[in-house]
Symmetry: C2
Subunit: 346 residues, 2 copies
């Protein structure tokens, strides 16, 4: 009998079926700059003008994917990957323009695919971002059954004179923190390891038991639900802050936590002093830290600890900034850096 | 003992070490439009003017990754992913501007990473494309040991009045084919399945034996070497053709082969008639087809069969086009479509 591509595990028709299920939701992300239809070799988007700067970001979701699969919450990671990219772009001062995704799996499950990409399209629509294209890769044997990987690419735009960054930051700048919704999309390997060890520790408990147990510390909620909160988009808060305060730079607290990200928003020779009491670390983090017997420095070097975005602003803008962003926290200030760590907790 | 992120399998320092090994090669891809340094939350690139159109593409390498790993040829896939994106962009008429990559694995091997991303940077430099950013994801347990996935994202630019596409194509347009270097980056699951079945068939032969056997049909070469030829970039040929002929549309023959891609370059109601004798199908394809006992339609629906790019041009440009692109082939012409397949071999 002769062999076919389908025999080898690749079914082009199945991929097309999967895509057709989310066509309408993708169409709703269309912006006036988009030219032509989906299905071309490249997506077309009218350029914003030579006085503008394009900002390009790429992000994944990490092993939060494993939890989403285990708990059947595929929509979460679809929204996550868009919001992660949007937040990285706004950290440079940019508004999002368009997004492309990469979805890779061993064998496409059209149901799962449409839940992921549908949620991705909805997140794009909410943030005014055109979902301009994507690649759906069916790679037999590359991924374990039912698993998939996901990456996003986003291009945004900022006026040249409005690019945010370390070069704007001055000693004495105030730091405004905006709460996170949980781990966002970073530090899940550590969180999962903690849960897995807990399961081993408690005789006859499975990872699922640990994730689904009602926890007093979480107000009766579960670790699973808390860990699968959507990585929030800070686009509205960014716009409100931009209108109210003089923003200098923004750190999006992702992989590497505080010490891994705050220095990216600081010039050489500067550090930050953070008032550790200015916000309450959410119960999810303290519970995970307790279960894993984690040292505090390890927690802050891995997780956002309840603050997803840190915005450095002119000190005189602080009151206006806090008024513009409900939930915003006065975290501390920019100080000279002498030696050692650049995030100092006081 | 308290747990750390490193215990959970994620080593941020290892990722940074891996990146530092290719920093210089990435720096050589810099273009005048690039603003600031690597390591920001987003890459900055001065926008082309408002009269220009951005073209965005995203691609992976598929299970060619498995062969590259098996035969220790990681440089190949790094160049592949760039060239795949460049070719998709030029199919819209665009020149490349910048590229970002996504590299995902369970545990980063700095040696492998630097070979892949180094080759990627070199391919970017050769095509004048800035390597503007990337995401390196370490996801313990997500990937089998030593495996990784790779995706690329490219933004190019084209003048609004020079966008190529189906809308330009007319009945009687000539089709110029440009040779491929092999399977490029598509149809590897089928090729691998053929080799795997062959290994099962030949007693005591492994997949590696099949890949490394000298083949008379390949002039003494091996399937492994032929399958790991780099997906060629058609950028130079595109530029030469653009200068010599009136290009209407371009089909990049990737996943789905001829019938899966040529219609993307055709308006409704049009088809192509291809002279099957106008080029010789390379030995790699005929050998694989023989080993797998593949029907011809299956071959053409999966692989490029020796032609990687098909360019539809004004018929009167044909001689000039063939003179401009050494190795170019007069494949056939655009004809009205009645029913059924849109690629008809005559």
């Amino acid at each position: 009998m002769s062999l076919t591509y389908r025999d080898a595990g690749v079914n082009v028709a199945r991929a097309e079926d999967a895509l057709s299920r989310v066509k309408d939701r993708i169409a709703r992300t269309r912006r006036p700059e988009v030219i032509g239809d989906v299905g071309q070799f490249g997506g077309l988007f009218a350029s914003p003008g030579a006085d503008k700067i394009l900002v390009a970001t790429t992000d994944g979701v990490g092993t939060k994917l494993e939890l989403a699969r285990l708990l059947d919450r595929h929509e979460v990671v679809g929204a996550d990957v868009v919001h992660h990219c949007v937040n990285d772009a706004l950290a440079m001062g940019a508004e999002p323009l368009f997004f492309l995704d990469y979805f890779a799996t061993s064998q496409i499950d059209p149901g799962v695919f449409s839940r992921v990409v549908g949620a991705m399209a909805d997140a794009c629509a909410r943030s005014g971002t055109a979902l301009l294209g994507g690649e759906t890769a069916e790679m037999p044997g590359m991924y374990a059954p039912d698993t998939y990987d996901l990456a996003g690419f986003l291009v945004g735009v900022v006026d040249r004179e409005k690019i945010l960054g370390p070069q704007r930051v001055r000693e004495g700048d105030a730091l405004v923190g905006i709460p996170s919704t949980g781990l966002h999309t970073n530090g899940y390997s550590l969180a999962r390891e903690i849960c897995a060890r807990r399961a081993m520790h408690e005789r006859s408990a499975s990872l699922l038991d640990v994730l689904l147990a009602s926890r007093e510390e979480l107000g009766g909620g579960t670790l699973g639900a808390s860990l699968l909160a959507v990585h929030r988009s800070y686009l509205e808060e960014f716009r409100a802050l931009r209108g109210a305060a003089e923003i200098h730079s923004i750190a999006h607290l992702t992989g590497g936590g505080w010490e891994g990200n705050l220095p990216r928003a600081l010039p050489a020779g500067m550090a930050v002093r953070i008032e550790r009491e200015s916000w309450e670390v959410p119960a999810l983090f303290t519970l995970l830290a307790k279960l894993g017997d984690l040292e505090e420095v390890e927690q802050f070097d891995t997780w956002n600890m309840g603050i997803g975005l840190v915005v450095a602003i002119a000190a005189e803008s602080l009151d206006a900034a806090l008024a513009a962003v409900p939930g915003g926290v006065a975290l501390g200030e920019v100080v000279p850096h002498s030696a050692g760590r650049r995030v100092v907790f006081g």
